[in-house]
Symmetry: C2
Subunit: 138 residues, 2 copies
DNA sequence: CTTGACTCCGTACCCCACTACAGGGTTTAT
DNA sequence: ATAAACCCTGTAGTGGGGTACGGAGTCAAG
C-alpha cells in the first residue's frame, strides 16, 4: 500500500499559492509560516492549510498591511488562553484601522464615480471638473 | 506694502503635509509632484494646493496603491480633452479595483468582529474558534 | 551685517520584501 | 540506473520608496 501523500512539497505549495519557492523560506525565517515537519531527507512537508495561509498573507499585503501587521493578525489565532482580553484589544484596534481604510477607499471610489459620470461626453466641451472630487481626503 | 506670501517653501510644505523635505524632491523627480516655479535664487515656491496633493498621495499609499498607481489617479485630473473616453475607462477599472479592496477589508473586519464577540469571556474556557473565521479569503 | 536657519544639488545609503544564485543532495519517471 | 526535476543551505543582489549627507549658496531676525 502506498501512503496517500496528504502534504505538500515546497514546490507544490508555492505553485498552489502562486508564490515563489524562495518566498516560503523567507516567510519561514520571518515567522509568518510555521516551520513544517521534514522528511528524512530534510525536505519540508507542508500541510494543505498552508495554501490558505499564504493566500491570506498575499491578500492582506495588497490591502496595505505590512508583513509585521499580518503576523499580528495571524497570531491572534493562537493566543487562545492566558491573554484573551489582550487579543480582544488588539482585534478591536485592527477593526478600527480597517474601518478607516474602508472609509478612505469609499471616498476615493466616490471621487472616481463622480469623474466617470461627470465626463460622460466623448470630447469637445473640454471642461469637466475632473477629480477636484478627490479632496483633502482623510 | 509687503506682498502676502501665498506660496510655500519646501520646508513649510513638508511640515504642512508631514513628509520629509527630501521626499518632495523625490516625488518631483518621479513626476508625482509637478515642478513648482522658482524664485531668482532657485528656491522652490509651492502653491498651497500641494499640501492636499501630498496628503492624497500619502493616504493612497496606506491603502496599498503604489506610487505609479497614484500617479495614474492624479493624472486623470489632467487629461481633460482628447481621450476622455480613455479616462473613463481607466477610472472604471480603478473603481473595480477599489471595490475589490473594500470587499476584502470587509471580510477581514468581519473575521475580527467574529473573533471579538466569540471570545468575550476573560479566561478559562481556553477554547474559542479564533480566526478560523479568516478564511480562504478573496 | 552678521549668524543661524533654510535651500540647493548630487550622490550614497537604508529598509522592506523579495528573488537569484551556487554548490550540493534527493526523488522520480523512464 | 540514470537523467531530469526537485529540494536543501547560505549568501548576494534587486526594486520600491524613501532618507541622509556634504558642500555651497540664500534668507531673515536681531
Amino acid at each position: 500500500m502506498t501512503q496517500k501523500p496528504t502534504g505538500l512539497s515546497a514546490g507544490k505549495l508555492a505553485k498552489a499559492a502562486d508564490v515563489n519557492v524562495e518566498t516560503l523560506r523567507y516567510y519561514e525565517k520571518r515567522g509568518l509560516l510555521p516551520e513544517p515537519p521534514r522528511k528524512e531527507s530534510g525536505y519540508r512537508v507542508y500541510p494543505e492549510s498552508a495554501v490558505d495561509r499564504l493566500k491570506f498573507i498575499k491578500g492582506a499585503q495588497v490591502l496595505g498591511f505590512t508583513l509585521d501587521e499580518i503576523q499580528d493578525l495571524l497570531d491572534m489565532r493562537i493566543d487562545t488562553h492566558a491573554n484573551r482580553a489582550d487579543v480582544r484589544q488588539r482585534a478591536t484596534e485592527k477593526i478600527a484601522d480597517i474601518q478607516g481604510k474602508i472609509a478612505s477607499l469609499e471616498q476615493m471610489k466616490q471621487a472616481l464615480e463622480h469623474l466617470v459620470h461627470q465626463c460622460h461626453g466623448d470630447g469637445s466641451t473640454a471642461e469637466c471638473p475632473i477629480l477636484e472630487a478627490i479632496p483633502t481626503f482623510r
